[in-house]
Amino acid sequence: MSSPTDLISVDEAPTASHSIVARYSPEESMHRREMLKVIGAAAALPFVPARADAAVRLAESVHRRLDAERAATGAPCALRVLSPEQNALVSMIAEMIIPETDTPGATSVHVNEFLDLLLAEWSTDEDRTLFLAGLEAIDHETRATYGKPFVELAEPDRVVTLRALDAMRDARDGGGRAFGELKRLTVYAYFTSETVQKNVLKTTMWPGRYDGCASVVLQGTGSPR
């Protein structure tokens, strides 16, 4: 990969003192440091680049570097809300919704961690309580029917149970509600995960063009709306 300085010469790039936006910023020096770290050169992206194609190439390289930096700092988080038992139940159901096949499943992209994050930082107290109570209701139901919690059921019994829950996924409470929420979040967390975006959907942030009559084989063209 060529360095951004090859794409836009330093002469074409105004320094910070000429930049309309950085000029009055008390945080200017911090912005500048971050930028230097990102593009690794003494040239900021000029406001009105002399050549538009050069700006495109520079922007691409900036974003590639940002991607690499962020990927390097992604670490798994410890669960804060889900108990080990709840986590086992949630993880098993999520993997049944999106199992590992020739592509990764829900477990390998850590759907449970995102769910736990939402329960800890996003959900209302009421929604969290209803969700956790719904998980309990699922086990309660399988104990009544099979004499075992969900995670200990034989696979055919688990499938039968999930089918029943799927039919009740719009319920206001109970196991159906918890399943519905878990299913929505499993689908969302799975398809927005880095692994799936990059390796399965092959999403590009830079389509470069719009084709309104493309063949269906061209897929994975961006983020969800």
Partner: protein, 563 residues
């Protein structure tokens, strides 16, 4: 460091119109100070359009608790999301009040660039159907200008900012200086043909006219179709003041841009009967400062400019600067966009789209154009578009397991088509911005009190929107058509305007035909406040054209020593 305090011109606001005022004033050689209440923007750091879901904490679901605490009003705007939320104000620092039972969403951006950073980018010219309507129907006041007065300024603005669109030769929706249009997708193309046939050419669906470049233009790059303009654009492909007008102003060497400068009031000089300058609170230090200018341009947005005038009281203007007519703050309008329809479009399952087109289709106004509608005055257009659902449908459709997963990865849902109305709101003096002396913002400036509700004309229009949206979709070939009417929440269209209207008579209007205050000759208001009616077109292009026109007039007056 000693700051310069006297300038040729002062511009309050750095957004859609402030950027244009800055560019035109500085290009005419005037030493210009632009005051922006918010922070500076650094495209290198603040533009985040290519940050994917997995790089933001809540994967795009937003920080719900922070939004409810800090942005309970702003969060209702679709663009106030986990990426762009930083471009919207903190509602706790920027309060406003409304009467019981009359909610209003005042969506604001305080930063260099203002709301031009996250605007919807749709641009439609007005026609004489719009400029003549008030006068013909005896509603509000007659516009003091006609299409011929503004047409060259539309040209001027469009040539600089770059508008993509398709010429249609419609008298009610004049064509402009277009770059090549974005493409309609195959389902939209078919819908256009079917609708033209069904309605004898009276209802025309065209590709949205949009301030996004389809080819390199004035040093800015063509769109690369990443799809989220409201998050910024590192290639400067859509128009914002940060991307285009402010850099042009800066190039003249005549621009001084001062962020973190909250304008508290406009200062009035009784001896000269002119605005002397402005009083500013430094947002960081809370220090009060005064700046003087030969010209003062208010480009702070309709409600903010009205608030500023109402907060600028003097012996001569006890009810607010330039408010002899008592019209400052009145006639607040937004667009009516709470109704439409969606449907499934059968077929075309071998076709999909590639790239994220940041634009949709537009149906030009057809009501009260050739014939008169019995239930309401004026009209509306539709925005919308067709696309196919992707993996996201898995959140709501039945199923689980390997086949469910495979279908979400390898297949798409059917084509859907959405159409939502954007309707004209009539000026009503009771829809009004006043000052709530009890409530002050973070800088101690009295807040706006906003009383606004839709009238019978607007409600009749929303009913008709549902009917005609369904008709259009049926003509297009849709099935499973559902009409909708969402809760009425004025302000949410973010096209607020009208609070310091232009007119011929100083007794009934605030500004003359050149956006000049009748009573304060060196004071100009060129944001949405100046509008005497709302038409149904997205308004920014008209604000920009009026701003450029007003600056040109002001500079001429200065040269003739009449200012």
């Amino acid at each position: 460091m000693r700051q310069k305090r006297r300038y040729d011109a002062i511009v309050v606001g750095s957004g859609m119109t402030g950027g244009w005022a800055a560019k035109e004033l500085t290009e005419h050689g005037l030493d210009t100070l632009v005051l922006e209440a918010g922070r500076p923007i650094d495209p290198n750091k603040d533009y985040v359009e290519h940050v994917p879901e997995y790089q933001v904490r809540f994967r795009g679901l937003g920080d719900r608790k922070a939004l409810e605490r800090d942005q309970p009003m702003q969060k209702d705007c679709y663009a106030c999301d986990e990426w762009s939320g930083k471009f919207f104000v903190n509602d706790r620092e920027n309060p406003y009040t409304t009467p019981d039972g009359k909610p209003f969403r005042w969506i604001r951006g305080r930063q260099v660039g203002g709301r031009s950073i996250m605007w919807g980018r749709q641009v439609y010219r007005w026609s004489d159907l719009d400029f003549e309507a008030n006068g013909k129907e005896g509603v509000g006041v007659d516009w003091p200008i006609r299409y011929a007065d503004i047409a060259p300024w539309y040209d001027h603005v469009e040539r600089f900012i770059g508008i993509s669109g398709q010429k249609e030769n419609l008298p009610q929706l004049p064509d402009g200086q277009f770059l090549p249009p974005m493409a309609m997708n195959c389902v939209e193309q078919q819908a256009r043909e079917n609708i033209l046939k069904s309605f004898g050419g009276e209802r025309v669906m065209t590709i949205g006219r949009v301030a996004i470049l389809t080819q390199n233009h004035n040093g800015r790059a063509a769109c690369h179709y990443c799809g989220h303009c409201e998050r910024g654009c590192v290639t400067l492909s859509y128009f914002s003041s940060v991307n285009a007008t402010l850099p042009a102003a800066q190039k003249t060497g005549k621009l001084t841009l001062r962020p973190f400068s909250v304008v508290e009031s406009v200062l009035y000089d009784t001896k000269t009967s002119r605005a002397r300058g402005v009083r500013v609170i430094d947002a960081n230090t809370n220090e009060a400062l005064e700046f003087e200018g030969k010209l003062v341009f208010l480009c702070a947005s309709a409600i903010e400019s009205a608030r500023l005038l109402l907060n600028s009281r003097s012996e001569r203007f006890p009810n607010g600067l330039a408010n002899d007519s008592d019209q400052v703050g009145r006639n607040l309008m937004d667009h009516v966009f709470f109704a439409g329809a969606n449907a499934e479009m059968p077929g075309s399952l071998d076709k999909t789209t590639y790239g994220n087109r940041p634009n949709g289709i537009y149906v030009a106004r057809f009501r009260n154009v050739k014939s008169k509608h019995p239930d309401f005055l004026r009209g509306y257009g539709f925005q919308g578009g067709a696309d196919r659902s992707g993996w996201d449908r898995g959140q709501w459709t039945p199923g689980f397991g390997a086949d469910f997963k495979r279908s979400l990865i390898t297949e798409q849902g059917p084509w859907g088509f959405w159409m939502g109305g954007f309707g004209e709101m009539l000026p009503n003096p009771e829809n009004r911005v006043t000052i709530d002396a009890e409530v002050k913002d973070k800088w101690g400036i009295p807040a706006a009190h906003i009383a606004c509700s839709l009238g019978e004309n607007e409600m009749a229009m929303t009913r008709d929107m549902q009917v005609t949206a369904a008709e259009l979709l049926a003509a297009a070939g849709a099935r499973d058509i559902h009409t909708y009417q969402s809760p009425i929440l004025p302000g949410l269209c973010i096209h607020e305007m009208g609070t310091a209207r232009m007119g011929r008579d100083p007794k009934t209007s605030v500004l003359n035909a050149h956006n000049q205050a009748h009573a304060v000759k060196n004071l100009f208001v060129t944001d949405g406040a100046c509008m005497a009616s709302s038409a149904n077109q997205n308004p920014s292009i008209t604000y920009m054209a009026l701003t450029a026109r007003a600056v040109n007039y002001a500079v001429e007056q200065l040269k003739r020593r009449e200012l």
